[in-house]
Each structure stands twice: as structure tokens, then as C-alpha cells.
């Protein structure tokens, strides 16, 4: 007799997780989106400096469905969403699982500002749908959805919460440390935060701002200090995209990491993609926030360690 009590204790969380998944589908289907499925196993991931794909035979498990979904957009699909499992090697912590669930959606003729609005609408819809209303209790504090959500640029956040400007932080190679230690804990406190306009080198697949090419049209959603979603206006210049991938691969090579071959079909078809915006939202983390869970472990049936 060895009943798995740890698992049974998660029953309520997993029940709510199921409602959230249903709610997400309802939100997008009612919004005119088409639910799609793309292969989990792919020949090559998008080369990005800090994302390591899990090897699967001669191929890889996708770290996100980005490349395939953009190929769909390029071929003429205009509003698509997908909920799928993704894999990233070596990521394990209170907010990380090497296998996790992403919600990703794309919209033609839109930019990152319209995705910020859509994020707000989605969170409102889900909170209402599962009976939480306008107030979420998470990590010993209330997050009020009904208040005007905070919108702050990355530059402004550095100015407000650290002794460095964003540019100095990049030059001194302190950007990530300051982000994690000084800025993230201040985001999404009391109300959700949308933080936007990241440095260009932190958005390998994002469009740069027309009036300031040092910045990418990229944003993130935070609630209670937890990063929930990352969206941007898509880069649709295929040659520029190829140059960026090469740069990312050069970084990888210099750190002794495996480099990834060019996703040629993607680069070829990207030329046909209309101006679009796309976003990935961590479903496990959203379930965490809605369940007031302290760790990501509490909102999945099994962690890798429990298998």
C-alpha cells in the first residue's frame, strides 16, 4: 500500500488547470482564432543564444512551436493559436520545468501593442471564468486586475529599480542579473505589469523599433514578480533574420554550446509573412498564479523527479 498522497494533494490545482485550458480555448475560438497543432519533433530549432533544445535522435524536441506557426502565418493563416508541450534543456527551478506547456498565438496585421491588450483581455476572461473575479491572491498579496495595468519600458524599469541605465547594464554585462534580482520582484505587484521595448540583442526574432533600432518591439507580462508571457512584433525580413540567427550561433559557438543549422524552409517562407505579432504564454505559471502555488511542481501531475 503506497498511495501517492503528494499527487492527490494537487487534485484541486489540476482541476483548475483543466478549467484554465478550456477557458483559453473558448477565449480564442470566440475571438476567431483557429486552433492548430504542429510537430513536437523538428529537424532544427531556431538558433538562440540562451535556449538549448533537447536532442531526439537526429532531430530535436521543439523549444517552442514558433518556426512552424510562423510558416503557417506566411502561407496565409491569419489568426492561429496552439497549446502544446515544449522542452528546454537544463531548465529546472521553482518556475522552470524542462518539459512545460506553452500557449502561443499569432495575429496578422497586428503589432505588439495589440497583443498587450489581448493579454489583458485573456487574463480577465480566465479569472472571471474560474470564479476569481477581479482579485487574485498570490504570494501573500492581492493582484487587482481591475486597476489600470502598469505599462513600463525596460529603460524606465532600470532607471527606477537599479543604479544603472539599461545601456550601462548591457555594457557591464549585468543586464540579466539586475533583471532577476532587482527588477522582476517589483513587477506585477498589486496589479499586472506589461514591460516593453527590450534591447535589440534580447529579441532575436523580433522587429526593431523604426525610430530606435537599438530596441526590439518586444514585451513581457508579469504578475506577482513572475514572468508569464513574452510577445513581440515579428521580424519578417528574411535576410535580417538569417543574419541574427548567425549571430546567435556565433555566441553559442564561443561558449562551447552546440550550434544549430539554419532553418532554411522557415527563412525561405518568412518572405511571404504579412506584418504580424506573436506571443508565448507559460500555461503552468499562469495556473500557478491562479492557484496561489509557490512552485511550478504544484500545478503539474508529475515533475521529472517524480517519474
Amino acid at each position: 500500500m503506497s498511495k501517492n498522497w503528494a499527487l492527490l494533494k494537487r487534485k484541486e490545482n489540476l482541476q483548475r488547470r483543466a478549467w484554465i485550458l478550456q477557458g483559453i480555448r473558448q477565449f480564442f475560438i470566440e475571438g476567431g482564432y483557429l486552433e492548430v497543432e504542429t510537430p513536437h519533433r523538428i529537424p532544427t530549432p531556431a538558433p538562440e543564444s540562451y535556449i538549448d533544445a533537447v536532442v531526439s535522435g537526429p532531430w530535436f524536441l521543439h523549444p517552442s512551436p514558433e518556426l512552424c506557426m510562423k510558416r503557417m502565418m506566411a502561407s496565409g493563416f491569419e489568426k492561429i493559436f496552439q497549446i502544446c508541450r515544449c522542452w528546454r534543456d537544463g531548465e529546472r527551478g521553482r518556475l522552470h520545468l524542462p518539459e512545460f506547456t506553452l500557449l502561443e498565438w499569432y495575429r496578422a496585421e497586428a503589432d505588439y501593442t495589440s497583443l498587450m491588450d489581448e493579454c489583458e483581455a485573456l487574463v480577465h476572461f480566465l479569472a472571471k471564468g474560474i470564479g476569481l473575479g477581479e482579485k487574485i491572491f498570490f504570494r501573500n498579496q492581492e493582484i487587482h486586475l481591475s486597476e489600470t495595468w502598469e505599462r513600463i519600458t525596460v529603460e524606465e524599469a532600470f532607471h527606477r529599480y537599479t543604479p544603472y541605465s539599461m545601456g550601462d547594464a548591457l555594457k557591464r554585462n549585468l543586464f540579466d542579473e539586475l533583471m532577476v534580482q532587482d527588477i522582476e520582484p517589483k513587477l506585477g505587484i498589486g496589479r499586472p505589469t506589461l514591460i516593453y521595448d527590450y534591447p535589440a540583442q534580447r529579441g532575436a526574432l523580433a522587429r526593431l523599433k523604426k525610430n530606435d533600432p537599438g530596441l526590439a518591439e518586444r514585451f513581457e507580462l508579469y504578475m506577482g514578480g513572475v514572468e508569464l508571457a513574452n510577445g513581440f512584433s515579428e521580424l519578417i525580413d528574411s535576410e535580417e533574420q538569417q543574419r541574427r540567427f548567425q549571430l546567435e550561433n556565433e555566441n553559442r559557438r564561443s561558449w562551447g554550446k552546440p550550434i544549430y543549422s539554419m532553418p532554411l524552409k522557415f527563412l525561405e517562407e518568412l518572405k511571404e509573412m504579412p506584418p504580424s505579432a506573436g506571443i508565448a504564454l507559460g500555461v503552468d505559471r499562469l495556473v500557478m498564479v491562479f492557484n496561489n502555488a509557490q512552485t511550478i511542481d504544484e500545478v503539474v501531475a508529475f515533475t521529472p523527479e517524480e517519474l
Partner: protein, 187 residues
């Protein structure tokens, strides 16, 4: 050689020449950014704790500590003397290096002495040790209003909270990992 991704609580590593133990560990990774490994590390010689954030690709030497079975002999000022159970060699460890362990050392107690580069830097205690209560308030039998735990001073000078029925002169078992009362010893 360890890399940052090997970090976990309890790991012993060398940093700037000193042995450190990881006492807190958290993995974080800001969106599209690099993996960061935030830790708290306790210097095993000085006992001081520092915060350190490591990045992917950082490497460090494991702190290989030798353990030797020894017996605690006596204390003189801030110096604690131990004897090697095999060679009968005597060594001294300072109060500073012993840290919390000093509260639980009684004559002839068997411990594991930790050596770093042949220098004794601390001890590993048994999980439970017996210690005598030398001072505590008397318990008025039948007085249920004082059902709460009360303070008691042990022979080493350590003060902890014990159940009301424990009396002066009694022997008790203490959990050295938490420093808390475990049970009364029947003599």
C-alpha cells in the same frame, strides 16, 4: 570539476581558495536571457555566509574534505581539543570554526572531524546527543496553566526549550540538526 548546473543545496565547493557549502540555491532565467544560479554559500572555515550568483559555464573545484573519526577531549578557553581514534594524535579546533556544534560537545563524544588541506575546520556530530540539564525552573505538579515549554540550560551552556516536566539534573536527548529537545533519557 563542477559546473553551475551541478549546484544544489549541500554541495561543497572551493571559492577563492576556501571551502564553501551551498546552503540555498535557486535557478532563474529571465525571458530570452541567460540562466542564473543564485546561491547562499557558507564559508566552512570562518562560518560566514555570502550571496553569490553564478552563470552558465562557470566552473569550480569540489571541496574534498577528509573525515576522521575522533573523540572530543576537553575545552580550554576558545580552543576545543579532539583525539584521533586510530592514531591518538590530538588536534585543536577554534570555537569560531566549530560554529553551532560547540553547543553539543560533551567529553568523549565521538564525532567526525572535517579536514581541509590537513587543517581541521569543523566537526560532524551524531544526529542525536545526550546532554544534562543544569538549570531550569521547577515544575509545580498539577499546574496545567504552565503546559508550555520552558527554558533550560545544558551543561555546555546551551539554552533550549524543554517540556515542563524536565527537571534540573536530568539527561535529555537533543537533535543536533535543529538544536531542539527530542526526548527525556531514562537513567
Amino acid at each position: 570539476m563542477y559546473t553551475a548546473s551541478d549546484l544544489r543545496k549541500g554541495l561543497k565547493i572551493i571559492l577563492d581558495g576556501d571551502p564553501y557549502m551551498v546552503t540555498f540555491f535557486e535557478f532563474s532565467k529571465p525571458g530570452k536571457g541567460q540562466a542564473l544560479y543564485r546561491t547562499k554559500l557558507r564559508n566552512m572555515i570562518t562560518g560566514l555566509t555570502i550571496d553569490r550568483t553564478f552563470r552558465e559555464g562557470d566552473t569550480f573545484e569540489p571541496a574534498s574534505l577528509e573525515e576522521r573519526a575522533m573523540q572530543f577531549l576537553y575545552k580550554e578557553g576558545d580552543h576545543y581539543y579532539f583525539m584521533d581514534n586510530e592514531t591518538y594524535e590530538q588536534i585543536m579546533i577554534s570555537e569560531e570554526s566549530l560554529g553551532e556544534a560547540k553547543h553539543f560537545l560533551t567529553e568523549n563524544l565521538n564525532v567526525e572531524v572535517l579536514l581541509f588541506k590537513d587543517k581541521a575546520i569543523g566537526v560532524e556530530l551524531p544526529n542525536f546527543v545526550n546532554l544534562r540539564v543544569i538549570k531550569t525552573e521547577a515544575w509545580v505538579r498539577g499546574d496545567t496553566s504552565k503546559a508550555d515549554f520552558k527554558p533550560a540550560t545544558l551543561e555546555t551552556g546551551y539554552v533550549l526549550r524543554v517540556p515542563p516536566f524536565i527537571e534540573e539534573g536530568e539527561l535529555i536527548t537533543v537533535d543536533t540538526r535543529t538544536g531542539e529537545f527530542s526526548k527525556r533519557v531514562k537513567e
